[in-house]
Symmetry: C2
Subunit: 193 residues, 2 copies
């Protein structure tokens, strides 16, 4: 069955962006440190050796993408093409001029529940790949996030933006899979609805 | 060689105590949820089945304990006896009347560096077991924490007290060992000094 899966790289102290996360410094100071397990210094995606490589296959098998506006704009909506699947962007405002030119990009302005419904419909039997801290929290609150794939990076950031900041209540998880590599501990959780 | 090792159970969102952590509600709401992998509902320690059992052996092999005052007082200084080893408590103030009656309990009031030095001297070749969020952060800042054994619990607390709250700078870690169980992901990190 199709699942919505959050994919995020996070420091042990819970940060998914460093301090000073601004337009001229996307992701904040040392942002690359959280992603160097699969992004080379020149920005090229690299397939991690060993069992973590299957994470790349899972991304490529997803049938749709749902991201927050901040995340989407930071990477120019993946140039309008994330392995050819529909991209849904959650926002309260209409898209800017660049996004309007991308036929695969759809802005959803009426909230997380209809956004996820559209993404799931587009994905069909395949999973929906979810990105972004704000979107993840709204999806958890609304009960429409099924799984969390956390890439836990062996670093303490000490500051920045946290993945989990303002959840209104306790959420029970179930550990589905742990991939243990020197670069990151990849833990997949199922959300207990 | 003797190492100082922090042992803490933490939710995925970084909490080591729940909301409303007060004298009448030690550890805050749902505190037991973070520790039910090794503490039964009646308060008895249980040896987890499988590979997580060795964590108990590691505790028992430690040659000294260093804890913050809040942590120590919350459990009445382990009744004065934590598997028979010296217990050092970091505090700015002298001990209260109960602690003064425990011969194995020593209050250290001149800071984390002398406290760790005393604990390491007492432990000899054995490790120093470190407990408490405040103490952990002071030890990390001062460069006297060698390892972190995090028991990461599959739950999002949404509020409470975080293990890592106010670190002044980035700390690089190295993944030493991952023990994957349904109840918790036990990750041991070495601090890169």
């Amino acid at each position: 069955m199709s699942a919505s899966v959050l994919y995020m790289s996070m420091s042990l102290d819970g940060y998914i962006a460093g301090p000073n996360d601004e337009p001229g410094n996307p992701g904040g100071d040392d942002f690359h440190r959280l992603h160097d397990w699969f992004i080379a210094p020149d920005g090229e995606l690299i397939r991690p050796p060993g069992p973590a490589g299957q994470l790349m296959d899972e991304w490529d098998a997803a049938g749709a993408l749902l991201a927050g506006r901040r995340t989407a704009e930071q990477v120019d909506h993946w140039g309008g093409d994330h392995h050819g699947v529909p991209i849904f962007v959650l926002s309260h405002r209409p898209p800017g001029p660049s996004a309007a030119n991308y036929p695969l990009v759809t802005y959803v302005t009426d909230g997380i529940v209809p956004a996820m419904a559209q993404a799931k419909a587009a994905a069909g039997d395949r999973n929906v790949l979810v990105h972004g801290a704000h979107t993840a929290q709204r999806a958890l609150e609304a009960g429409v996030l099924d799984e969390l794939q956390i890439h836990q990076i062996p670093v303490l950031f000490g500051g920045g933006r946290r993945l989990f900041e303002m959840l209104p209540s306790r959420v029970e998880l179930e550990i589905d899979r742990v991939i243990d590599t020197p670069e990151a501990t990849h833990i997949r959780y199922r959300v207990r609805h």
